[in-house]
Symmetry: C2
Subunit: 256 residues, 2 copies
């Protein structure tokens, strides 16, 4: 056996070793350090590979991490941490913290529910059919008595559920406060949003599993008011100034 090789050949062999390591990390690497660098710099093709998730495991993870970054972080992180377990790279490249901003419907503004925002980002990451899945998730959210999730050893006990009728944080939170009697920043309301985040994460996993299995069938239909109001206010109609899918009559009065 040769114990000495040409400089060129040894560099080539060293390159292969590194490329092998890079391939193990999910890179489409080839035998050169420069190319390993090039591959590492590039985002994997969208959509990213999905693996079937256990919705209850996702829910438990979302519930567990909620205190670290609130609602959007919990759902985004709950799904991504499970995908890191099942798929690994490239899910390891996205910092969970980038989804903290959705809390309280955008840093406390009360707009879009952060749980929906976080789920939607992950849904969009893994399927080209994201629009139908997100509408299904959001429709379910607006029509379902939440929260459903029951943690094993909750720090705060709550039993009230409410139907939001809306994906808007302010509406969703206030409906639950009115139903439960607890304050908007009470520990009970935070526990409600923590459990709701677990529910939304589980529902997202359930829908994504269906997409992966080829069994996803949208069931959500917009509230009757949307069709009714857009008959005048919709695209191409007499008072063409609205598009949307939220229940019009939750904020507007019926008029003709």
């Amino acid at each position: 056996m040769a114990t000495k090789l040409s400089r060129r050949k040894l560099f080539k062999e060293a390159g292969k070793l590194v490329a092998g390591a890079a391939l193990g990390a999910g890179f489409v690497g080839v035998g050169s350090g420069a190319l390993v660098r090039g591959q590492a710099e590039k985002a994997p093709e969208w959509p990213w590979p999905y693996a079937e998730l256990d919705p209850q495991a996702v829910a438990a993870k979302a519930y567990e991490i909620f205190p670290q970054g609130h609602c959007m972080y919990a759902v985004f992180g709950g799904l991504l941490l499970e995908l890191r377990e099942k798929v690994g790279f490239p899910y390891t490249m996205i910092p969970l913290e980038m989804a903290e901003y959705g809390k309280g419907g955008l840093v406390g503004w009360g707009t879009l529910c952060g749980a929906i925002n976080g789920a939607s980002a992950v849904i969009n990451l893994v399927t080209e059919n994201y629009a139908a899945v997100i509408s299904e998730l959001t429709g379910w959210y607006t029509q379902t008595a939440l929260p459903i999730y029951q943690p094993s050893n909750p720090e705060v006990e709550i039993s009230t559920t409410s139907v939001s009728g809306s994906p808007i944080c302010h509406v969703s939170v206030t409906k639950w406060c009115n139903a439960s009697g607890f304050g908007a920043k009470s520990p009970e309301r935070k526990e409600r949003c923590r459990r709701l985040a677990a529910d939304v994460a589980a529902k997202a996993a359930e829908l994504l599993n269906q997409v992966a299995a080829g069994t996803f069938t949208p069931t959500w239909a917009a509230p009757a008011s949307v069709e009714e109001c857009l008959a005048c206010h919709g695209p191409g109609k007499a008072v063409d100034n609205v598009f949307g899918k939220m229940d019009c009559l939750q904020c507007h009065e019926r008029h003709m």
Copy 2:
């Protein structure tokens, strides 16, 4: 000069080269393929490094790419593409397509303006002070006559601006439709949102530049109605059932 070296020494040198490449790509790499692999699998520490951006270049990029994925994609992508230019890795690891979902205020639902959603995700990615920056951006959005951006050769001519008073897509779009007379799905309204996306991207870059320079000073204050209404409806008050920063009187009537 030696043209032949020991196997051990040459592998060591090759490792350094690869480590150098990895360092150039933003890895904290050392001289071994295995460690390069380990680093490549892990998300870089949050927040990610920021480099001063040219707000006008960001605006132009957002405007350019809008047709590929709409409002959230345009702002998210406009900022990330410029950060890829200035910083490179790790911004190259995030697929821009994951931000398509915010379009039309969440796949057409009309909730949070996708331009704000996209900007907020990037702001959250690069600074721990994201909440103040996002509130400043969102406050500016609600109070400013938009759009401002003037493309050099627009396919669609528009001249109407409007003040949304709200970060909600439905409100923002309908206000502009009412002001301009153009329909909710008209080419003119799409051009309005395309230019608005450029504005939001530029404003986000401007604010992030201030954060990086240590000159960021929040100026936005919530509408008077927020303080007024939360005097009863806020945390710990008589009718404690609301938190939020949106103008209450845009949707609710004053009452005592």
